[in-house]
Assembly symmetry: C2
Homo-oligomer: 385 residues x 2
């Protein structure tokens, strides 16, 4: 096990009816801006619960944060928040709304010329407006981490930043808010959480047994509960298990003291930027192809994954690895998420352009061994046609 | 899954050489009191590393905190800390030192007449001096929770309190500090962490899959690594796995949203108070007997435990449960910890007195269903003769 530091102070308030806790959790005199997305929270009763809990407070609302939140939109929110002297942000929605709100929080306190530098030049985040969230889509883990991914419409860039200063102060997770999610979003969320876990697990072994067992437990839970979430959308226990699994997949815990990959995410980001595919759709395309391409480097963990997660214990090692990758592919497909470019009517002609974008963004040595060069990324994408 | 709130802000600094981080982690102008136990840290180099990291600071040392830390001793520390105007406590040692230091932290700010009321009358802890720890014995999880257990020599009482105000600000966990631990303490630590896990896992199912899988992962890790820690005391990976398992066993995570038992602990505390047995020694005696006594109420989780933790999948249900309890008993014995009163040359004649103490302390409805009355506790102890 490698040395590590782990700290995650976010307060998670989990369960049915917990949105009412906003009343007590938000500081009494805060000037709050509620941020949200396309308005589904208006239809499913979530916003009504939020407004009820915030009755009598000074609240400004900012809607319209889109999937793959756009810098351009978020800067509008920054403008409004400055005008309204906002000192607390409450994101109500899924990963895009929360990620976008983290950027707003950092941009409001940014002292440089252009907050875009936080993303493009890794300009340090030295302060941020405190934020919290009501999560309505289990997927990204943003509710309990300091990560944010923001896109820029004008240039097609999709870039990430991380700061402990944008960790939510608290996050309310009510599984009932996920009952009305579209099938595609449920499926994407499960795939996203699954790939977050494999990015921290399918690398090379460092004999970190708690981290491995926890990662395997998350994967097993997603495999068991993901299809049930589609089949039984109002099954509370299923929704709760998926939601808590997604949080645990990316709150830092399973990544402590172990190597991490993240090449699937980096390649996937370029596919989203280029073709507008959903984040999770890109992960489902890249991961199986990447595992095939990296099967030697990831050999020991792939065998462990085959045995412990998929119960594949017979046959020779190569066939067990092949079967585990196929089982992963089948799982994504069973969730309704295609695992090839062709599943989105893409013939692969954009692969050179995607690889060029990787180069442009400095993504030239990806993976746990920094061995995924642009040439390897190209081979991965070719395998994913 | 039941509703829950989870928050654990303790900063864990894990790995070899991390004691040096004290230099940066402790606030610059703090007046620090370093608390410790019987002096093993003087012989194994830990105190030397601590003193080196604190060179040039205003530091007072208080040693002599005993196993099952005594109120009487801790109040001496309170007196010294007041005289020295201490505003930060650094516990260096195992669970007893850290638990004792938590009491010191709360007692220093207690406004009532007698800090013993925190334990005996559940007097609320409204403030505490900040504290941190350098943990040298993986066992109790105290390094990442707000729990403390304190004994009173004069009366033979052993009582607990909990407050988020005594959560360590940071905890340094260097597995190398555990190389020189006596065999008995290593074994006790593994048993303690194991039983912390079963207290939160072997109850009744609420379909909380992440919590179950994480608990099973901790148990599997302890079963794999516990005996290796005894056989290969300087195996870093083994020590690291045991240490991180013990932290995860009682930092709140696996207990979120699930029923909890704790009867084994409550009965065990009385055995320690009565006979001076080590805490873990009492758990190893009580748990197997309690599982036998409660096998109907815990039936479904015992079957899951048999299958997932012990790989027991054949035979009828009763025999699988029996085999799982026997495997648990064998594991404790293999760690060198006796699982019967007779293993400590006790003939059971004190059982009525132990049960009387349980009544005296209000422990009349223990367990996840509050069904363990003093009569049931008596039967458990009879089974443990």
């Amino acid at each position: 096990m490698d040395n590590f530091i782990f700290q995650n102070p976010t307060r998670v308030i989990f369960g049915k009816g917990q949105i009412a806790a906003l009343k007590d959790e938000l500081p009494a005199n805060a000037r709050v801006m509620v941020t949200y997305g396309g308005g589904s929270i208006m239809r499913n009763g979530v916003m009504e619960q939020v407004r009820k809990a915030l009755a009598g407070r000074s609240v400004v609302e900012f809607g319209g944060i889109e999937p793959n939140p756009a810098y351009e939109t978020l800067m509008e929110a920054v403008k409004l928040a400055k005008a309204e002297k906002i000192d607390y942000l409450l994101a109500v929605g899924g990963g895009s709304v929360v990620d976008g709100t983290k950027f707003i929080a950092a941009a409001l306190k940014f002292e440089g010329a252009d907050p875009w530098d936080i993303l493009a030049k890794h300009a340090p985040v030295k302060a941020a407006v405190p934020l919290a969230c009501v999560l309505t889509l289990p997927a990204t883990g943003t509710e309990m981490n300091g990560n944010s991914v923001v896109s820029r419409k004008a240039t097609g860039d999709k870039l990430a930043f991380h700061s402990t200063l944008v960790l939510p102060q608290f996050s309310i997770l009510d599984p009932e808010t996920t009952y009305s999610l579209p099938v595609r979003q449920v499926a994407n969320g499960v795939v996203d959480a699954f790939v977050h876990t494999t990015e921290q697990y399918l690398t090379y072994p460092v004999d970190a047994r708690i981290q491995d067992r926890f990662a395997e437990g998350i994967l097993q839970t997603l495999i068991e509960e993901g299809p049930r979430a589609l089949a039984e959308p109002q099954n509370y226990a299923v929704r709760a298990n998926v939601m808590w699994a997604a949080t645990q997949a990316l709150n830092g815990l399973i990544g402590t003291g172990v190597p991490q990959d993240w090449a699937t995410h980096m390649i996937g980001h370029e596919l989203t930027a280029m073709h507008g595919l959903d984040h999770a759709q890109t992960l489902a395309i890249v991961l199986p192809a990447l595992l095939e391409e990296q099967r030697q480097g990831k050999r020991e963990k792939l065998l462990q994954f085959a045995s412990r997660v998929w119960g594949l214990n017979s046959g020779d090692e190569e066939s067990r690895i092949t079967a585990a990758i196929q089982a992963t592919r089948d799982f994504f497909e069973r969730m309704g998420v295609p695992t090839r470019l062709s599943g989105h009517k893409l013939n692969g002609s954009s692969i050179p352009a995607v690889v060029a974008k990787l180069r442009e963004h400095g993504m030239i040595a990806l993976g746990e061994r920094q061995a995924i060069t642009p040439e390897v990324s190209q081979r991965i994408l070719e395998r994913a046609r």
